[in-house]
Symmetry: C2
Subunit: 364 residues, 2 copies
């Protein structure tokens, strides 16, 4: 089993979340002018962020969204409602500012990093960061053999690790994941089916809007991909990734691992980014403790993957676009969770009374 | 049945949501560079906002949060975990900027309007807008008789209508509701029990953290309040409000009606603000079409009231603080919903292909 040096070092550097810091954060929140726990999941989020960082945040985390795009050979199987050229077109729209994620990243005050991880015809788009490995644009058809060589998968993971290193050096404090790639829910479904494991029919859904016949083709494609792979009981995650995964998913596996090693929270988006997090968690189980689930997608595989990662999503808005849109929509909750820690007054400072010792009715 | 002139005129001016504008908004969204409907509830929210306004928004709506506070005579029954003086203390903390709602309103870019609708000892707090009617600070104990005279209820409603008129004249485009008042979940539970109608035990919950014995006292207090009221089958909402409601709830009934008349969306917060919206909807059924539910509170009465108003909350964060914190946390979703309308590129403008006419597998 060959892995790159950077990948090995990164996995070795990933810490478990710091539960002492989480407990310290909970105590700080209990001193604020509100009944204990009354801000519900916002308080849980603040504690989780502090545990991931290993320290209580003292100011807002600077957010970025990494949206990685690539093409998928399995698109020829008719598993998407859209033609393959849409991947390159959308890459240009991300960079041009008119795509949903471009709009929502601006609204969230997040830096948007658009990555070409292997888009057919995506070579020369301005504002796009090229992360092509081995000159590969578009994976092979996963129903006929491995989607990519193992070395390409490792190379892309390491590119993702390197990017997140640059971002954190530049002061980014939380990274959202986004993706685009016609047919990539088929790759994500195959990853989930192989790694959970699960039946292909239980994790495949309509994606961005395929019809019932397309869904049948999708389940068949995933099943064939798994047959080609002929898995043992504890499959090597990188072998699975190379067999059925997309280039953009491999890149996001790297972003997830790299962020965990840097103690930077990762905000997952929908099903595909969660499949990337699943691969990362199979490489290093502590990783799921560094992730935050933004949304619950209607795609049936998503809930199963989130359960496996022990993540409860913050939002449930029936989003099925991807691109990082759910992550962008969850960032204001992160800002709010940190702000209650940094900006709220304590009971003592505000001169507010705590609960009555023994609330009793007056003798009226 | 006496109502004030302003109240009568306001109710008469409330329009139904404009379904043609909602349909026009949906068409505009379908032309954007994303699969139709793939932004899920964000698209529904954009359509709803447009229908309430009667026009497609062309820029971000300027948000405000109105947090109204008052004291409750029923607090002597031991129905809250906190002593009554906390109401006045929190009023000062709202104005001073250290309360949760002050922090979250800032994060949301929302103007915070702090209203004293009848807080005991709340007279002289800087930064608080006094809306005391008939000099009343603190309601009477609703278990012994009406909480307030009918004229006071009408007066407070009209103060709320007047405030929202000022806000909309000043360019505010969406109003969030917030409240504070020790024992006010008891008032809200009594309103819900009377108006839905529902059993007191089904709508009473722990509020900000009362114990089991306190919950028994709360259910008893609500039941006694309903006995005092001796309702017919179709109770007059203002009579019910005067009998069991709080001053701050009456004020927020006015804000809700006034906003609906001005075609300004109202963002509800938790159980208490939703009880105010229920009173408003009983006065004028179109009102619930002008409301947006921010959060689902763990308080058992909240889901029942939201069902009655036909509202599905945007968030489910297990908040039980009130103050408008849920409304503030939902404002970024409103910004995002409007931004996808105003800022996203269309398929045509971006040169992106639509769905394939008939997606078919290649003959490989």
């Amino acid at each position: 089993v060959t892995r790159g040096d950077l990948l090995e070092r990164t996995i070795a550097a990933i810490p478990a979340p710091d539960l002492d810091v989480a407990a310290e954060t909970a105590r700080l929140l209990d001193a604020k002018t509100k009944p204990p726990g009354s801000l519900g999941r916002l308080e849980d989020l603040a504690c989780r962020i502090a545990a991931i960082r290993g320290s209580v945040p003292r100011e807002a985390l600077r957010p970025a969204i990494v949206v990685a795009a690539a093409d998928h050979g399995v698109a020829v199987r008719g598993v998407s409602a859209y033609p393959q050229e849409v991947t390159a077109q959308m890459l240009a729209t991300f960079a041009g500012g008119g795509a949903a994620i471009a709009v929502l990243a601006r609204e969230a005050g997040a830096r948007l990093v658009v990555v070409d991880a292997g888009v057919i015809g995506g070579a020369s788009v301005h504002g796009v960061r090229s992360e092509i490995v081995d000159g590969a644009r578009g994976t092979e058809d996963l129903t006929l053999g491995p989607a990519m060589p193992r070395s390409t998968a490792v190379g892309l993971i390491e590119r993702g690790i390197a990017l997140v290193g640059e971002l954190t050096d530049d002061g980014i404090g939380i990274v959202g994941l986004g993706e685009m790639g016609i047919a990539n829910t088929t790759s994500a479904s195959a990853l989930a089916a192989a790694l959970l494991p699960a039946e292909p029919s239980s994790v495949c859904g309509p994606g961005t809007g395929i019809d019932d016949e397309g869904l049948v083709r999708k389940v068949e494609s995933v099943s064939r991909g798994l047959v080609m792979l002929s898995l043992g009981p504890d499959p090597d995650p990188i072998e699975v990734l190379a067999a059925v995964g997309g280039f953009e998913i491999a890149f996001l596996v790297g972003v997830t691992l790299g962020a965990a090693a840097r103690r930077v929270p990762v905000m997952l988006d929908g099903f595909i980014t969660s499949a990337a997090a699943l691969v990362a968690a199979r490489l290093c189980p502590s990783v799921s403790g560094s992730s935050i689930a933004a949304t619950r997608s209607p795609e049936p595989g998503h809930a199963i993957v989130l359960d496996a990662l022990k993540l409860e999503p913050l939002l449930d808005l029936r989003l099925r676009l991807g691109e990082g849109t759910g992550a962008a929509l969850a960032f204001p909750l992160v800002r709010a969770a940190v702000a209650i820690l940094t900006d709220m007054a304590t009971f003592d400072a505000a001169g507010v009374s705590g609960p009555s010792e023994a609330p009793e009715p007056a003798d009226v």
